[in-house]
């Protein structure tokens, strides 16, 4: 029998991986549809809330400090980066406009999403992956209990419902951090800073960020749970699933962000016409 070279094996493995992609995607879609379909039922029952509240605590409450810290430093860095340019142009009191729009509509939701994917997504995958390899998911099925409804739906719901709230925290701390550096470190004047910010930043920007966060949260929840449910056996399998969950969530956040921007901007223009110039 002819021996296969490393190159041939690599090409074969790549081909098998490529052919398996549609199947994986199909499985993910079925899993997601199943998890989402139980969401109304879980929200409507007391038992559903008893599953949801501990997840909301783990996913939401325990993420608040890290999200706030991220938001604050994002705002601070943006001011530190922009101050020189804006001051040279004599527009330093308009710095808040660009910083707060960026934080509310873009950086707040994206960075909160990335932090959520890292902190929560990894933990969800590890927890469910361990349950998978120690036969706990099989045990649930053997008791006539649907593991997707019992485990994935509450986690998905907690991610969907709490990602916008966490983003709001990131936005608030981002705005505060930016102002603190502007006024405290660069001694900028607060009154014109907030005046121009109020003029330019619309509720729409804040709403756009929260809508994005809603989708990012759902994506992180579904990907993390799917990877945990379908991880390979052993510590290596669980570890790989955690890495995959983070990487795929991160990529999906950026992809979704692009398409959601197109939709949200199109919607804005359809409703209010072209956006006025910021300066």
């Amino acid at each position: 029998m002819a021996r296969t070279s490393t190159l041939e094996r690599s090409i074969g493995n790549f081909g098998a991986w490529l052919l398996g992609l549609p199947e994986q995607f199909g499985r993910f879609c079925l899993f997601s549809a199943s998890a989402i379909s139980y969401a109304p039922l879980e929200l409507a029952t007391r038992r559903g809330w008893t599953h949801l509240i501990p997840q909301a605590f783990a996913i939401g409450t325990q993420s608040v400090p890290v999200i706030m810290l991220t938001g604050a430093f994002v705002g601070m860095v943006l001011v530190a980066q922009g101050w020189g340019q804006f001051e040279t142009a004599g527009l330093s009191d308009r710095l808040g406009v660009i910083v707060n729009i960026s934080v509310a509509s873009e950086l707040g939701p994206v960075l909160a999403g990335v932090m959520l994917a890292g902190r929560v997504g990894g933990a969800l995958t590890a927890e469910l992956g361990t349950m998978n390899v120690t036969e706990q998911l099989l045990a649930l099925r053997s008791m006539g209990c649907n593991p997707v409804r019992h485990l994935a739906t509450p986690r998905f719901l907690a991610c969907v419902l709490l990602a916008p709230i966490l983003t709001l925290y990131a936005d608030l701390l981002g705005a505060f951090g930016a102002w603190a550096v502007y006024a405290g470190y660069y001694s900028g004047e607060s009154e014109p800073y907030w005046f121009y910010t109020r003029q330019a930043v619309e509720y729409w920007d804040l709403g756009a960020g929260l809508v994005k966060a809603f989708f990012f949260g759902g994506t992180i929840g579904l990907i993390s749970c799917y990877k945990g449910f379908h991880c390979k056996s052993g510590a290596e399998g669980v570890g790989r699933a955690c890495t995959d969950a983070f990487v795929i969530s991160f990529i999906m956040i950026l992809v979704l962000d692009f398409f959601l921007n197109l939709v949200i901007n199109g919607l804005y223009e359809g409703l209010y016409g072209p956006r006025p110039l910021l300066f």
Partner: protein
């Protein structure tokens, strides 16, 4: 269903994973009220067979029946009423880490939608089941705080904690990883539970002591088929070479060849 009637039936069941054929045209009738033990080397498909009985795996070919009703073609939802009559003791115990011992034991009852078991009754029954397995007072401990033998006993308590009691308990390697003394406790417990709760048992093991102690009937799985079937003492004395070697615990010549190759 009368004692001795076939409560579980597998008809010409085959199962393969990739190119590896694990079960090959298997026929099995499990009699109601009896304890059936299936032995075989590691990796011969004993656990796979057990998972077919409760619908966790579907056969590639063949049929599976529970109380005369075909179940291998049912949806997950349609399998639920049947699964609520069968308990499964997993090899790794499969206790839920996030719950206390009492919550683990009460879990199947809490999840029974149709059962409508009251909280007070659930608590009383789970305490009774923990007492039966000698773990009274362990209610508030977490699985991580228990030894291997204690975890196994909690898994047994969870298996019987149903209202009404399960009709069948499936045991997957109930003594694996335990020292001989703790294994003996588990064997006696299985026998005790069978007498006390009067359930049908299907035990999968490669421990011959467990097989002879808890079994009314003993089968040996080899190459995807049963090569021995009878009372434990008959199988123990069988002349078939693979059975002989397994009972004596001596290696197969082809396994030794791979060592010296």
């Amino acid at each position: 269903m009368e004692v001795g009637d076939p409560i579980i039936e597998l008809r010409r069941v085959s199962k393969a994973f990739g190119r590896q054929r694990v079960l090959d045209d298997i026929d099995l009738k499990v009699e109601c009220g009896k304890s059936t033990v299936i032995v075989g080397r590691s990796g011969t498909g004993k656990s796979v067979l057990l998972k077919h009985i409760v619908g966790l795996l579907r056969p590639d070919k063949g049929e599976v029946y529970f109380e005369g009703r075909r179940i291998d073609n049912l949806s997950e939802r349609a399998l639920t009423p049947m699964r609520q009559q069968i308990s499964f003791v997993f090899q790794l115990n499969a206790l839920f880490d996030s719950m206390s011992v009492a919550e683990n034991v009460a879990f199947p009852m809490m999840e029974q939608r149709s059962g409508a078991v009251s909280k007070r009754k659930t608590r009383a029954l789970s305490s009774h089941c923990l007492e039966l397995v000698g773990l009274a007072g362990f209610e508030n401990k977490r699985p991580a705080e228990l030894s291997g033998g204690e975890k196994k006993r909690v898994a047994l308590a969870r298996a019987i904690a149903m209202d009404p009691a399960p009709k069948v308990i499936l045991y997957d390697e109930p003594t694996a990883g335990l020292d001989p003394q703790r294994a003996d406790v588990i064997n006696k417990l299985i026998r005790h539970l069978q007498r006390e709760v009067n359930v049908t048992g299907v035990v999968v093991t490669h421990d011959m002591r467990t097989a002879t102690e808890v079994g009314d009937r003993l089968l040996m799985l080899w190459g995807g088929r049963f090569i021995a079937d009878g009372a434990p003492e008959d199988v123990m004395g069988a002349k078939e070479k693979h059975v002989r070697r397994f009972v004596e615990g001596s290696a197969e010549p082809e396994d030794l060849k791979t060592l010296t190759a």
